[in-house]
């Protein structure tokens, strides 16, 4: 069954000409990966049920409805041909940039930062969407120039500008965490697209100085976050409160946890934002290390699975698209977990598909749809660039 065969090399299927009938493409969807995505969303449902005090209201129920929408969207996007995706990538990218500009002008202020925008009555975070737009844009761009022309630095100037534009706009919101994630996704795509080593060295060398410069321009609350991260005990009831409470809750979970719906810190509201950014703390407290590591295991499988899917594509667009989505998912997870465990300063980065929140869930599912499209259309070859190595 090819549905479960993304780790195996099925020569017969690989050589087959792509079938463009919708039903045939539906069968091509990697249903094992879809199952894993559903599993993660299921974990999210159970955790949000507990965060709601043992009730589907107010978090778990609405979240599942959104996941249902997201799942349909994911499958629908999976069936869209890469050719169409490449066509719409430029408008989508420009639209996402326009939204970022809009949010700066009239954004909804939440937690000291302008991040949210009201779109048809729905709270929407354009920076999430901008990641997808950038991935599409860069994948299209690098697909067009091909690997051979990556050696010409002039060819990289435009994609660099395309990457820096959303980074700067998100940084201005200001949202340091998401800006960093966008930047790292862009850099990874540059790297994977075949950027030459000497170019990488030239780019990486000035980063420390850049870092210093950026720190100088950070907002006070961002500096405060870095300072509290370094010394959380200095401000146990202020900005350090979240980190300390999060670690206390995790620690009280121990190896096997305090039991589902019985986490004292989470249930007694000692945990801040337990249904959004700190949902993993709640899981760790109630299910212990055993449950926490199982969730991390699932995240690893989904991350590596997405990267493997990217590797299996026979065209540059599909590969870069898949890797971009894989990196997006991975960075969400890594930043959120690091934040929850006090390894990096706190920033508003949710845990994908588990944290409560509509726009993060829908953009992630849209991304998974793109990933699945890359899988479904993995056998389309780059025109003029025949692969000989398989």
């Amino acid at each position: 069954m090819n549905a479960f065969g993304f780790l195996k090399s099925d020569k017969r299927l690989l050589r087959a000409e792509p079938d463009f009938r919708p039903m045939a493409r539906l069968l091509q969807v990697n249903w094992l990966y879809v199952l894993l995505v559903c599993l993660l969303a299921g974990v999210g449902y159970i955790a949000l049920y507990s965060a709601g005090g043992g009730s589907a209201k107010p978090f778990a129920g609405p979240q599942m409805v959104r996941f249902g929408f997201g799942l349909v969207m994911m499958i629908a996007v999976a069936l869209v041909s890469p050719r169409i995706l490449r066509l719409v990538s430029v408008p989508i990218y420009l639209f996402s940039i326009a939204l970022l500009g809009l949010v700066l002008r009239m954004g909804h202020v939440g937690k000291g930062a302008e991040r949210w925008i009201n779109l048809a009555g729905m709270q929407f975070q354009p920076s999430e969407f901008a990641k997808i737009g950038l991935v599409l844009m860069l994948a299209t761009w690098f697909h067009r120039i091909g690997n051979e022309r990556m050696g010409n630095p002039l060819r990289l100037v435009i994609p660099a500008i395309l990457t820096l534009l959303p980074v700067v706009l998100v940084l201005k919101e200001p949202n340091l965490g998401t800006a960093t994630i966008i930047g790292v996704i862009g850099a990874t795509l540059f790297f994977a697209a075949g950027m030459r080593l000497w170019q990488i060295v030239i780019l990486v060398a000035p980063i420390p100085f850049l870092g210093k410069f950026i720190y100088g321009h950070l907002h006070d609350y961002q500096k405060a976050r870095i300072d509290t991260f370094l010394h959380p005990e200095h401000d146990p009831l202020g900005a350090g409160y979240n980190i300390i409470q999060s670690k206390i809750a995790l620690g009280s979970g121990g190896m096997w946890g305090e039991g589902y719906l019985h986490g004292s810190q989470g249930q007694l509201n000692f945990l801040p934002e337990k249904q959004t950014d700190f949902i993993f703390t709640m899981i760790g407290e109630e299910w212990g290390f055993a449950g926490g590591i199982a969730v991390i295991g699932l995240l690893i499988v989904l991350t590596l699975g997405a990267t493997l899917i990217a590797m299996r594509s026979r065209n540059q667009f599909g590969r870069l698209l898949g890797l971009g989505i894989a990196m997006d998912f991975f960075l969400y997870c890594a930043v959120n977990l690091s934040m929850v465990m006090g390894a990096i300063p706190v920033g508003g980065v949710p845990l994908p598909l588990i944290s409560y929140g509509g726009s993060a869930m829908l953009t992630m599912m849209f991304g998974f749809g793109l990933l699945m499209s890359a899988w479904v259309h993995r056998n389309e070859r780059d025109p003029g660039f025949e692969d000989e190595d398989d």
């Binding site: 091909g146 690997n147 051979e148 990874t188 790297f191 994977a192 697209a193 075949g194 409470q245 670690k247 206390i248 809750a249 995790l250 620690g251 009280s252 979970g253 121990g254 190896m255 004292s264 810190q265 007694l268 509201n269 000692f270 945990l271 760790g284 212990g288 290390f289 926490g292 590591i293 991390i296 295991g297 995240l299 690893i300 991350t303 590596l304 990267t307 493997l308 990217a310 590797m311 026979r314 540059q316 590969r319 870069l320 890797l323 894989a326 990196m327 991975f330 997870c333 890594a334 977990l337 690091s338 465990m341 390894a343 780059d382 660039f385 692969d387 000989e388 190595d389």
Partner: protein
């Protein structure tokens, strides 16, 4: 030719390694937090989860000897406002103040509290609500969202001024108290500040209980985990008879005076009055500056318990002690007679007898009966101060008495050594003056009562106020608990006979003290203590009359007595400040008090009417 897919695969594998490495490292960190640091963090979590609160113990009550409450706990109500349960706090307070008037001070306090406490901590709107206020608040509850009535406890002193000096009062603890015992920081805790409330603090206070509660991050109580009931303070039963106490106060009236009634066989204090007094309940909620200044500046010293803190020269009431000291030292015998011409010369100084015509030849019994000064000048001169001090101390004068009250003063029986310690030379005249209880001699009314008790019973009785703690009767309550004094019975007999004569014989110095009861006699001794030296010129002018002096220069009037004479049971001391003459002012009061005491004696009350006690002939020894 470079293969795009080949480069991608290699680099994607590197990316995968990073992804797996980062997530793996996070898993490892999770392991550290949850298991390695787990124990430490779990303790922090426990602290997060529970909040221990102390429960104020009920303070022990104080009763008189028959069980009448002298200090009790009264349930009181106060109105609280839960800020989080109302949306418009200002409007609620406004409506509340229309029901229960709040003054500016209240408004300022409420405003301050609202600013400083969290929304879930109640703010006191009004303490000590009356029943009517409560009813009005309950009636208007719908228009007062967030207002609730809370039950507290206040200390109640049903007899107010009557027992204020003995029972004392409680007041909110100050910072020093809280530093010593943090449980005092509990709301509603009070500390005894005077009297029995102060000295029996450790007995009355009790131990606080505690309740451990589950709280959430906002501090709101979710549930109760554990409850340890505190130990209520122990109840104290006094030897006092509050009925008698009331009578004594009634007799003393508006005089500035003090009187102690004691059981002379076991030292139980039945009544101890000091006038004027004060209202102890004012201290519970805090005394105003104006009230405090009024008390502090009053020359009649209402806050001072004169019975234990008031020092007075004993005057002639000291003569029995001088007599006993001289007999014990062998300086004189009871039969020795001295001539009283009305004056006594020593070292070129003339000391007068109160009777300027003199008493002629008097022995000890007659000298006591007439209260002859010259006789005791001579006795004091012969025996010196040391035997007088020794015997006086053993009688309870000039020593610290171990009664359960604060600020007990010991008084003094002066000796040349004592005088020298204070940097002065002792003159022979000082001894002579001390012989009639003037000069440097100082005693308290309680010491006088103890002294006359010991004369009456011959026992070393210890004055005390506590009869029982938590229904455990004190060992002192027994009638034969006190050991006999080291004074020969015949010496005591002479003194008692002299004191009998004072009251009951013709020409005794206190005929007004003679009891009207059919078959009971009282023995007593008068005293008039000068507070200012009478100038020789004034005395010799023949126009001296202390009644013409301003009040604060008049002599104190004293009287000590015991009864029944043939089977002593009660001793009474009376001191009337600036009452002029003991025989005229103090003796009639003592008679009234002793009569009341005898009438109230349970054995007399149970006696069938008409039957009389066989009367013994008074010992004339």
């Amino acid at each position: 030719m470079r293969s795009g897919r080949g480069v991608f695969t290699r680099r994607a594998l590197m990316v995968m390694a990073v992804q797996a490495g980062v997530l793996g490292a996070l898993g490892r960190r999770l392991y550290n937090i949850q298991t390695v640091e787990g124990d430490h963090l779990r303790q922090l979590a426990e602290r997060n989860r529970t909040s221990k609160r102390l429960l104020a113990p009920a303070r022990g009550t104080i009763h008189d000897r028959f069980g009448t409450a002298l200090a009790d706990n009264k349930v009181s109500w106060r109105a609280l406002l839960m800020p989080e349960e109302t949306t418009d706090i200002a409007a609620v307070i406004e409506r509340f103040s229309q029901i229960v008037p709040l003054d500016e001070h209240d408004h300022a306090r409420i405003e301050r509290d609202l600013k400083h406490v969290h929304k879930y901590v109640p703010v006191t709107l009004h303490e000590f609500l009356s029943w009517d206020d409560m009813a009005r608040i309950e009636l208007n509850a719908p228009s007062l969202p967030g207002v609730l009535v809370d039950v507290g406890s206040t200390r109640l002193y049903p007899f107010q001024e009557l027992t204020a000096h003995i029972v004392g009062y409680v007041a909110p603890p100050n910072e020093d108290d809280v530093a010593k015992d943090t449980t005092l920081s509990l709301p509603g805790m009070r500390v005894g500040r005077a009297g029995i409330e102060q000295t029996q603090e450790s007995v009355l206070r009790g131990d606080p209980g505690s309740v451990e509660m589950e709280v959430n991050a906002l501090g709101r109580v979710i549930g109760e985990i554990d409850r340890v009931e505190g130990q209520q303070g122990e109840d104290v039963r006094l030897t006092l008879d509050v009925g008698l106490q009331g009578k004594v106060l009634e007799y003393l009236g508006d005089r500035v005076a003090s009187s102690v009634v004691m059981d002379c066989q076991n030292g139980e204090v039945l009544a101890m009055v000091s006038t004027p007094s004060f209202d102890p309940s004012l201290f519970d909620s805090g005394v105003s500056h104006a009230q405090w200044n009024e008390w502090a500046n009053d020359p009649r010293t209402p806050l001072v318990d004169k019975a234990v803190s008031g020092l007075y020269p004993p005057g002639s009431t000291f003569k029995p002690a001088v007599a006993l000291g001289a007999l014990k030292a062998g300086a004189v015998t009871a039969q020795d007679r001295f001539n009283c011409p009305g004056y006594f010369d020593m070292g070129g100084v003339r000391f007068h007898c109160w009777n300027r015509w003199g008493h002629g030849m008097v022995n000890m019994r007659d000298a006591l009966k007439y209260s002859c000064d010259v006789y005791f000048y001579e006795v004091a001169r012969r025996c010196g101060m040391d035997p007088i001090q020794t015997v006086g101390n053993s009688m309870g004068l000039g020593v610290k008495l171990d009664i359960e009250l604060p600020h007990v003063r010991s008084g003094v029986i002066p000796t040349p050594e004592w005088r020298q310690q204070h940097g002065f030379h002792w003159n022979g005249g000082d001894t002579v003056n001390a012989g009639i209880g003037q000069g440097f001699v100082q005693v308290t009314p309680l010491a006088l009562a103890t002294y006359v008790s010991r004369i009456a019973s011959g026992r070393n009785v210890q004055p005390h106020l506590i009869r029982a703690t938590n229904d455990q009767i004190s060992s002192l309550a027994s009638l034969d608990a006190a050991p006999a004094l080291d004074i020969p019975q015949e010496h005591m007999g002479v003194v008692r006979a002299g004191m009998f004569a004072v009251v009951n014989e013709p020409h005794g110095s206190a005929p007004k003290a003679r009891l009207d009861l059919p078959d009971v006699q009282m023995a007593g001794k008068t005293g008039s203590a000068q507070v200012r030296r009478v100038s020789r010129a004034l005395r010799e002018s023949g126009h001296f009359n202390s009644m013409n002096l301003p009040w604060e220069y008049r002599p104190h009037a004293l009287f000590i007595c015991f009864a029944p004479y043939d089977d002593p049971r009660y001793a009474v001391s009376v001191v009337v400040e600036h009452g002029n003459a003991g025989a005229d002012e103090a003796a009639p009061l003592a008679k009234q008090i002793m009569t009341e005491t005898l009438v109230r004696d349970p054995s007399n009350q149970s006696r069938p009417p008409g039957q009389t006690v066989a009367q013994k002939e008074p010992d004339q020894g």
